[in-house]
């Protein structure tokens, strides 16, 4: 447990250091120039300082106090149980918006945006097929029914527009 505790607290210290560096203008002479003699960077600087000091104390205590002998996970099975959910979730979020970048002249697309509905169909279908081991027609039914129900509830019912796919922008699909 000790290395994980130290690494987590060290990461918090790092975030604090970055925020303190960004807010270093807190030390610019602002007396008499900012309202209340406190500039915009003063508050985030001290919030980051408190966070950094607290995390340093956690590092120190993790290194000096006895720690639980068991690991963070109970075994490989529990690590895989989390990864099975976390990795597809990240891919799902990336698929919705697509992957690419824009310069002043060009837009580079690595994966076109699948939008919410196509992304959800793939995501729900993947779980039904992979973890549920359902027959193919059940997988197809889940993949179609869930996005359709959400489309009816949100686009038609609440009139909330969710992200659309590249097939929508090219006029092939209504979502």
């Amino acid at each position: 447990m000790r290395p994980y505790q130290v690494a987590t607290a060290a990461a918090i210290v790092l975030i604090a250091a970055v925020a303190m560096f960004d807010s270093r203008a807190a030390f610019n002479p602002s007396a008499g120039t900012s309202p209340g003699d406190v500039g915009a960077r003063w508050y985030p600087f001290w919030a980051a300082t408190i966070m950094g000091i607290a995390a340093l104390v956690v590092v120190y205590r993790s290194l000096t106090l006895p720690q639980a002998a068991e690991g963070v996970f109970e075994g490989r099975k529990s690590v895989f149980a989390v990864l099975k959910l976390a990795v597809p979730m990240v891919v799902y979020a990336l698929l919705i918006g697509g992957i690419g970048w824009r310069t002043t002249d060009f837009t580079y697309t690595v994966i076109p945006p699948f939008g919410f509905y196509l992304g959800t169909a793939l995501y729900m279908g993947l779980f039904a097929w992979w973890l549920g081991r359902y027959k193919i027609w059940w997988v197809a039914l889940i993949s179609v029914a869930v996005p359709l129900a959400i489309f009816a509830a949100f686009e038609i019912g609440f009139r909330v527009s969710l992200p659309k796919s590249f097939l929508y922008t090219s006029g092939i699909l209504p979502f």
């Binding site: 987590t8 209340g36 408190i50 529990s78 549920g132 992200p163």
Partner: protein
């Protein structure tokens, strides 16, 4: 008795058909959310928050901001009750405040084969606890709010500091971890434009970050995605025992008979739960453990605890539900959330264009009293539905993991996207989901982070207003007797963990020095 007149007016508002209809929908949704182990009350309320924008702006016939708050709070009441069903029948806590029911609720259901009695005992004590708390809420809220109207920036800042101090001093986790999370929340709240000078800060040149980090996607990530990842880990390694149950009238009457034997315990735990719930950041979970401890300490059947003792169900349940209701008191009267869930509800008020705090009582009395009346009605509805629909609610647990888990992720993504139509919010949800899961594993408390994130702007505003008024001098905070007293109490609260450590070390040293007795 002006309060009773106000309450009667509140019932007039809450009993309007649209408000009752939305309350019914909300408590059913809350019960479902409570039953699902991967979805908690906080994340459930956060996910459904964007829908309330449409409710508050009159998308439904006759709906307004009062309908929206009744809807959001109703989800919380449902979740408070729903979490116990999975604890008692499946040995899996549906909500953090139902963990304590694993000790006696599940044994009573399984070993003593009385699942109906276990459930009925939990529901009647929850209902009574919530009722006591709501009555106290009714009579305490207005005086607190009227007093708070006299507060200036120094007093308001002192109250914020006090709420942060309770999170550090009275929290269950290591105080330094609480402090780090609290400061992280304040830091995240500072991202974007400074509201006083208009300067950009902590956005690292990224335009989307100029508008700041939104509270809702962070909360959905920390609580929704974080919980589902934790639940995936548990279900990946655990075996789930299932007991089927039907709740008959005989169970209810037996539970009422048992309640009458323990009426002093239930009422005293409800009152203690109320005052505990009013403290920021604690809410129902901490109160449930406190309630269990008290029930055990004052029981003449200590040896039965852990084996299906009914006091081990009724004690924590009355305290938990009472604290759940009480966590709305500081939110409504002072603008300070008493729990992560009430922090989300408070974020809802901001989104609907309302300012939580004492001014609400003056500017929007129908809103406040409608909410208070709806707490009575919401608990009554939840209680009745629980008695009628336990088998149906338990069936939700039979929906396969491969469908329900990705579905919760999907609705979390919708919840985070639809508030600002922003893909950045979706990525924030996913990132904070992973962060929340990891912080939980490392035993960092999430309540200080969420409370500080929602209070960060107000805290900075009041601090700087006070400094402007005091021409930059921190001594301004001690000009008022009230703010001085509040700051001193805050200092004492922060010192509590230190005092505890010193006493523990002294006791250990004394034990080591004393000669061993044969």
């Amino acid at each position: 008795m002006e309060v009773l007149g106000d309450l009667a007016r509140g019932f007039g508002t809450a009993l309007q058909p649209i408000n009752m209809a939305m309350l019914l929908v909300a408590v059913i949704l809350g019960l479902v959310i409570g039953v699902l182990p991967g979805l908690g009350g906080t994340s459930g309320v956060a996910i459904l928050l964007p829908i309330t924008v449409f409710i508050a702006h009159g998308s439904l016939p006759g709906s307004d901001a009062t309908t929206a708050i009744i809807f959001l709070a109703g989800i919380y009441w449902g979740a408070l009750f729903g979490g116990v069903i999975t604890s008692i029948l499946f040995n899996i806590p549906g909500e953090p405040w139902a963990v304590v029911l694993l000790f006696d609720g599940f044994p009573l259901a399984k070993r003593l084969r009385k699942p109906g009695l276990a459930l009925a005992s939990s529901f009647v004590s929850s209902f009574l606890g919530a009722l006591v708390s709501t009555i106290l809420f009714t009579f305490f809220a207005l005086p607190i709010a009227l007093k708070a109207l006299e507060f200036g920036p120094a007093e308001l800042f002192a109250v914020f500091v006090l709420s942060f101090a309770t999170l550090i001093g009275l929290g269950a986790e290591a105080p330094m971890k609480s402090l780090a999370m609290l400061a992280l929340g304040l830091l995240l709240a500072a991202v974007g434009f400074d509201t006083i000078t208009g300067e950009q800060r902590l956005n690292f040149g990224q335009v989307p970050l100029l508008s700041g980090i939104s509270f809702v996607p962070v909360t959905i990530g920390l609580f929704g995605i974080g919980e589902i990842l934790a639940s995936a880990e548990e279900q990946g390694i655990g075996y789930v025992e299932k007991i089927s149950a039907r709740l008959g009238l005989a169970d209810v009457f037996e539970a009422i008979r048992e309640l009458r034997k323990r009426i002093r315990l239930v009422l005293s735990n409800a009152i203690i739960g109320f005052f505990f719930g009013v403290l920021p950041g604690h809410g129902a979970t901490a109160a449930s453990f406190l309630g269990y401890g008290l029930a055990r300490q004052y029981s003449s059947n200590k040896e039965n605890f852990g084996k299906g003792e009914i006091s081990g169900i009724m004690g924590p349940q009355s305290a938990a539900d009472s604290a759940g209701v009480a966590s709305l008191v500081p939110m409504i009267t002072l603008g300070i959330p008493g729990s992560p869930t009430s922090a989300v509800i408070m974020a809802g008020l901001f989104i609907w264009g309302l300012q939580p705090g004492p001014v609400l009582f003056i500017q929007h009395p129908d809103f406040v009293w409608g909410l208070i009346a709806s707490i009575y009605l919401g608990h009554l509805l939840t209680f009745i539905i629980c008695l009628l629909a336990v088998p149906l609610l338990a069936m939700i647990m039979r929906v396969p993991y491969a469908i329900i888990t990705p579905f919760i992720v999907v609705i979390s993504i919708i919840g985070s996207y639809s508030l600002n139509n922003s893909m950045l919010d979706v990525f924030i949800t996913v990132i904070f989901g992973v962060i929340g899961y990891w912080l939980r594993k490392m035993k960092y408390p999430l309540a200080p982070l969420v409370v500080a994130l929602v209070l960060g702007d107000s805290t900075e505003r009041e601090l700087r207003k006070a400094l402007i008024a005091g021409h930059g001098s921190p001594l301004y905070f001690f000009n008022s007797g009230l703010s001085t007293v509040i700051i001193l109490i805050a200092v004492v609260l922060v010192l509590i963990p230190l005092i505890r450590t010193i006493r523990r070390r002294r006791a250990a040293a004394a034990a080591a020095e004393s000669p061993a007795h044969p």
